[in-house]
């Protein structure tokens, strides 16, 4: 009880103020508060939205990526064959490749096929399935990597073609 520091006129009002009842919030008030306490939610393994963003940055974005099944050897081989085949077909159609170039290209194709197949498997082992999954999830980084691989392949092919031309001239 507080000491009186007011005049007598206020005494009944002070008494009534002390008798004012407490009001209650709704029944699920405590549950709603508890569901927003970061420490408790983290302990339950349910990371709140803000915390998950933080976690995502720490874990290199892997939390945000839906895990994908690792690519099988057969699938990787098939994709490599189709890719190289398309490049060869484009070379015949648009760049008027002659027979010698075609033969060299065929050899290159076989070589590129082997490199692509081995490279895909080595990449999966070195980078790990989670990272490969992340790259395959359509991220910008993955697109850039694929573009780099294509440019490298085309560049390599051009270099071999140039070498073939030089060899042909010397032979002539």
């Amino acid at each position: 009880m507080i000491e009186h520091d007011f005049d007598e006129e206020f005494v009944p009002i002070a008494a009534e103020l002390q008798r004012l009842p407490y009001m209650s919030p709704s029944r699920d008030f405590a549950d709603r508060v508890i569901s927003r306490i970061d420490r408790l939610q983290a302990a339950k393994g349910v990371a709140p939205v803000l915390a998950s963003r933080h976690l995502e940055l720490h874990q290199g974005g892997q939390q945000a990526v839906v895990p994908r099944r690792p690519m099988t050897v057969m699938k990787a081989t098939g994709k490599a064959v189709v890719g190289v085949g398309l490049i060869v077909a484009a070379a015949f159609m648009f760049f008027e490749v002659d027979i010698l170039t075609a033969i060299l290209s065929a050899a290159t194709t076989q070589y590129a096929f082997a490199v692509a197949a081995i490279g895909a498997q080595v990449g999966a082992v070195v980078l790990g399935p989670a990272t490969i999954g992340y790259l395959q999830a359509g991220a910008v980084e993955a697109a850039l990597l694929y573009m780099t691989l294509v440019v490298g392949l085309v560049g390599g092919y051009s270099a071999i073609r140039t070498a073939a031309h030089i060899a042909k001239r010397k032979a002539a």
């Binding site: 009880m1 507080i2 007011f6 006129e9 206020f10 009002i13 002070a14 009534e16 103020l17 002390q18 008798r19 004012l20 009842p21 407490y22 009001m23 209650s24 919030p25 709704s26 008030f29 405590a30 709603r32 508060v33 508890i34 927003r36 306490i37 970061d38 420490r39 408790l40 302990a43």
Partner: protein, 198 residues
């Protein structure tokens, strides 16, 4: 983690358990103070939903920062301080300085106004005493609603929660002299309003 009883445990000790990450300690702190905090906020904003949102915000802020609690202060003072800050900020944002005695200023329909109007309950008295008490209680609620928010907080903390002037000054972050002045003026205004009603 097994549930424990906090019946004879002080606020400071419950806080220590909460700092260790015990959910039952968090729930105990909410259980102890949800009604006083909600009542203080409700008497300041006069809208149940808003009061509940602000009370929830208060507890979330306090409990998420439980590690920053300094045991030399009363836990309830810290809690009321946060509640007062959040409520005053809300009132400033909404520019609600004077609250209608008939219901929330946010009420857009008569039904909503009735739902947000102050109702007072009491118990343990004869029907006549209860009626008189309810009438006086309702009159005081209405009179409190007419006060400025700063006066409201101070008078409630002084006469409902029994805090000293020093503690109130700490809670509302105002100089001691200002708090005394606010409470003196609030008493005068309450007397005047209640005198008019009688």
């Amino acid at each position: 983690m097994p549930q424990r009883s906090y019946t004879d445990v002080s606020d400071q000790q419950v806080v220590v358990f909460a700092q260790e990450g015990r959910e039952d300690a968090y729930r105990e702190l909410i259980k102890r103070y949800e009604r006083p905090v909600f009542s203080l906020i409700f008497r300041m904003v006069r809208d149940k939903e808003t009061a509940e949102d602000l009370a929830q915000e208060t507890f979330i802020k306090v409990l998420n920062n439980i590690d920053r609690y300094r045991p030399e202060f009363k836990f309830s003072s810290w809690l009321f301080k946060i509640a007062n800050n959040i409520t005053i900020d809300h009132l400033r944002r909404r520019q609600v300085d004077t609250i209608s005695i008939e219901g929330s200023p946010d009420a857009v329909t008569a039904e909503r106004a009735r739902a947000t109007a102050v109702t007072v309950t009491s118990g343990g008295e004869s029907p006549l005493e209860e009626l008189e008490s309810r009438e006086l209680g309702a009159s005081i609620e209405k009179a409190i609603a007419k006060l400025r928010p700063e006066y409201r907080a101070c008078i409630i903390l002084r006469h409902v929660e029994d805090y000293s002037y020093d503690e109130i000054a700490e809670i509302v972050k105002l100089p001691l002299g200002t708090v005394k002045t606010y409470i003196h003026r609030a008493r005068q205004e309450l007397r005047q309003y209640l005198g008019d009603l009688r």
